[in-house]
Symmetry: C2
Subunit: 145 residues, 2 copies
């Protein structure tokens, strides 16, 4: 267990490398964006791809209208109710629809599968290019360590 | 297990009563809001209080500047990696800082404790008044049932 500096709330401030490692450790995150005058947060199956987050969206989803160069938030976390411990990684950034066929083939091969969507559907890949990545963890916890 | 109608992605559309019950079943949700030109999503310990969501925020937090009548999104979920099943409840709404002393006493007595914040700090209670509440669940799953 490494101890890091803490913020105003007593949460450990995680180094960037830890954030990337933790992002890679859970399959579900949440994307927040503006739609129809509301802030909408939706869970997505995602992958950490280098320093970016990628996820799939299908026709008919509110997320499918998000397009490129849109402001988004992203969050992933994990916690243990019994010990009141956990971590979160919070990203702000912009979306980018993946258009390169070579890149789409590469992403298709990474093994990310939607849990509900019919497999025959052709998904659109969205990449989040972060403008900030921050991570926090409950103090003195080995959780996510 | 009850089967509900499904959406474009094959996810079961949950009735409002199920959404409220599921909101009550997990201790951590995520609040999404605008701050400094970014969409920020932060995890919070919360309680479902009737048809509203309430959480605490302390001085120095990005959330503490949110105030009343601000547009927010809220999301809670739970999932099982092994069976690729899970549910989510998604709320859009507006914030309201709880100012009534009687109401603050009632909320203090509900037993919600921050996992990291020092207990001596006096928190501010924020209520989310929903304008929409929607729930989804992976199909054919007893998870969250």
């Amino acid at each position: 267990m490494t101890l890091h500096p803490t913020d105003h709330a007593g949460l450990e401030i995680l180094p960037f490398a830890d954030c990337l490692r933790l992002l890679d450790s859970v399959p579900v995150g949440r994307v927040g964006f503006f739609a129809d005058g509301e802030i909408v947060i939706l869970p997505v199956n995602y992958l950490a791809d280098g320093q970016n987050v990628i996820f799939r969206t299908g026709a008919g989803s509110k997320l499918s209208s998000i397009g490129s160069r849109n402001l988004v938030g992203f969050e992933a976390d994990d916690y243990d109710v019994g010990t009141h411990s956990g971590w979160s990684v919070v990203i702000s950034g912009f979306t980018e629809v993946v258009e390169s066929e070579e890149e789409i083939r590469r992403l298709n091969d990474l093994g990310l599968r939607a849990w509900a969507r019919p497999e025959e559907e052709v998904p659109t890949w969205i990449r989040i290019r972060p403008t900030s990545v921050t991570g926090r963890r409950t103090p003195g916890s080995a959780f996510g360590g």
